[in-house]
Subunit: 467 residues, 2 copies
């Protein structure tokens, strides 16, 4: 945004106030400051923050920005890790913190209609009372909003069995970059009338339209769950177990993976009790009817057993489950201890390529002299690759950039994708053309222009500088 | 297509021959005739039929049509019911009958990469050998192609548990209306880099791009299945049972519904043994591990039991299962006996609105003096509504059109959609704007123009005349 545009934004303050009232517009630098960052730790201070409380107000705000070419960044709670909600061109932030209503919970049709500012956890709590859950479960669920989850197509461990937002949203109400209302999708679990704009908008990171209402597909809570922990000599045997588990009919609802480096860190920074020669670890959970969980757990145990298996524990009580998860939960604090500014990527490779990925990452770790710790959602091949660096050391930062470049090449060579759930935002926009060919990328950019001809919605995101 | 364009198509014959060879181009009227119809029983004879055998040939054909503005209709096996593959402007048909290769079956990653001309059944047979299935199962599965299934987002009974193509396709290779190759999606079960063009193309009925390769997500075959038949006094109690079944955690993999009119027909035209006062019937199937099927069937029985239940049978042997399905299978021949040219719509309403839908249809049946028979995929609220008319009687045809109009109003008033799996094609193009608002529909049309600026791909389909 040019200085002139920011001046214009300031000049338009009365108009924003007339749309949503003075209490719902912020422009004091101290007030707008917190709306300039996200969990990428990048920050740009917006000129104006708007806090609408209705669909109509959102529409009017977008219309005003469209007419005056003001950059507009929709915002949930800023838990994203790619800078997708940082207002890099300053301008206007549209925060959904006052749009947190349940519009409808329709138990008979397994549908919840919600405003985008509500947190994922609030939805789980509310629909949980009726015996349902909404499958997407990013780690940030307690804080992140449904709108943010949808904008980024955020998933989490349960995606392996229950899918991502794309498999769990029926329809949207949204405002395009022209300030026009659209309704996409249906209220039913089937519908083939017209093009699927719902999924086009899901994962588009606020660059196509501003979601004002979402029709979510609810899933009945399973009767029961069982948690298993399998420890392996090495990554190869753990990966072999992942493939075996994924080739039999009992689909776990989580299948989490922790590599040898991560186990070493856990051992150093927590009291978790793990075999000395542990080279990799899987945490596997199955859910379903109580009557068949024993059998389901047995099927998983059979598939998880190979010559590299060192230890296999099944938890049945809450205390035992907590004990198994304590290992996984020890990981984040341990990593934060060592490298507060670690680089956390969320690459994906086909499940059978996990061993090649980890082997490749070990080589890159040695080549660039950077410690790399891997864990993640193995059932989807979605590995969180953590480069532990001291970001105050410019030389380490430079090395980490070269290393990251190599990591992405490795992932693409293994038929993978650069992001499974974090998205592109600012962080990966200049890498996207390594994954997507020019014709396809150009078509995406043309779609962007169609929805948002003045390029006001979350500008300078997703697409490379060159486009 | 104008007469000039058809002359041009004829004049370009040598160029098509040079792309794919004389054996792969048809232009004799007797040869091209069968490529002019689909199961809508509509027919327009194309000028030229091309039978490419590779992605590159498809690209060259589309490029030639793009350069010369020739209408091009991609075609599977013509099993669609909406006229979506009828070449209404004549021009060129691109039949995928010679593109039937399995490019890859990757058991470790649960992925099958196939050419679009392969039939659904051939995929099921082939991946079945490895212990997998592909969930979409339209009734036409034995004949219809994967390309056709994807173009129409065709589903079937199993969608209730396993979803439609949108939930079971990872990526596509395709040629846009400009003759340019694009690759969409990923090879993994997660991926959030760029916009979701895969789902945009699925269900677009060949109007955006021609699919040349599809990456399908395979699902492991369940260990075991159980089939139940529940007979009810009336539609209200059957619908109540559907809601109860859908509100508990055991999700059946089929939940089929047959109304009183349909039962009456079955009784007249088959030897099926049904209680005299049967007013509605459900066929319900559960699958999973053998160890828990007893329990799963019990959960379904509990949910299916209400004061209107007349009879509940569970089949365990193949013979018993066949006996239960004989009722459902008696329906199609019975309907064909009565009305060979019946109108078969596939409307969808929220599950809880099924009773209101059936009640409304009964009223419309009386109002327009047309017998209406309903059956379908109750778990998705997807009801096949059959208007039994004698299409040789112009007066009945007129009445049926008025009735259809009222049916669509009823469905939309019940928060439903005009089609759950058949699509729009020619049949519903002039109704689409009753479901989709002008702004959203216009955006879809602009997307069409972006992908296909010369409007060569399946022209005069999906969008109303007025657009």
């Amino acid at each position: 945004m040019t200085a002139d545009q920011n001046k214009l934004a300031a000049a338009l303050l009365p108009q924003f106030v007339s749309i949503i009232g003075a209490d719902h517009v912020l422009n004091d630098p101290a007030d707008v400051w917190p709306y300039g960052y996200d969990n990428s730790r990048k920050h740009t201070q917006p000129e104006i923050v708007t806090l609408p409380s209705s669909h109509a107000q959102v529409r009017d705000i977008v219309q005003l920005c469209f007419e005056d070419n003001l950059p507009l960044v929709p915002r949930g709670r800023g838990t994203g890790t790619t800078g997708a909600s940082v207002p890099v061109k300053r301008g206007v932030v549209l925060s959904f913190e006052r749009m947190t209503q349940f519009i409808k919970i329709d138990v008979n049709n397994r549908v919840a209609v919600v405003e985008p500012g509500i947190t994922n956890q609030a939805v789980q709590d509310k629909i949980g009372e009726a015996g349902f859950f909404w499958p997407p479960d990013p780690t940030s669920a307690a804080f992140s909003t449904i709108g943010g989850n949808l904008a980024c197509n955020s998933a989490g461990p349960r995606a392996i069995k229950y899918g991502t937002p794309r498999e769990n949203v029926l329809g949207l109400r949204a405002i395009t970059g022209k300030g026009e209302e659209i309704r996409t999708g249906v209220y039913t679990t089937k519908g083939v009338v017209g093009y699927d704009l719902t999924r086009l908008i899901l994962g588009s990171e606020g660059t196509l339209a501003v979601i004002t209402e979402a029709t979510l597909k609810m899933t009945p809570l399973p009767q029961s769950k069982r948690t298993l922990q399998a420890v392996y000599k090495n990554i190869g045997s753990a990966a072999e177990a992942v493939s075996s588990i994924m080739a039999q009919p009992v689909i776990p609802y989580t299948l989490e993976f922790i590599d040898g480096q991560a186990i070493e860190m856990i051992r150093k920074h927590s009291s978790a009790d793990l075999p000395v020669n542990a080279g990799a670890l899987l945490i596997i959970e199955v859910d379903g009817q109580e009557a068949c969980l024993e059998d389901a757990a047995q099927a998983i145990c059979d598939a998880a057993t190979n010559t590299g298996l060192l230890e296999l524990k099944t938890a049945t009580t809450q205390v035992e489950i907590a004990a198994l998860w304590s290992t996984r939960k020890a990981l984040s604090p341990a990593l934060r201890n060592v490298a507060p500014n670690k680089i956390n990527e969320d690459v994906v490779v086909p499940v059978s390529n996990i061993p090649a990925l980890i082997e490749g990452l070990e080589k890159l770790s040695r080549k660039h002299d950077i410690k790399i710790v891997n864990f993640g959602h193995a059932g989807n091949g979605n590995i969180h690759t953590n480069l532990l660096i001291d970001s105050t050391d410019p030389e380490q930062v430079t090395r980490s950039q070269l290393c990251l470049d190599d990591v992405f090449s490795l992932v693409l060579n293994l038929n993978g994708t650069l992001s499974g759930e974090h998205g592109v935002g600012m962080e990966k926009r200049n890498y996207i053309d390594r994954e997507i060919d020019p014709v396809t990328l150009n078509l995406m950019k043309e779609i962007k222009t169609l929805f948002d001809p003045h390029n006001i919605l979350n500008p300078d995101k997703m697409f490379p500088d060159s486009l």
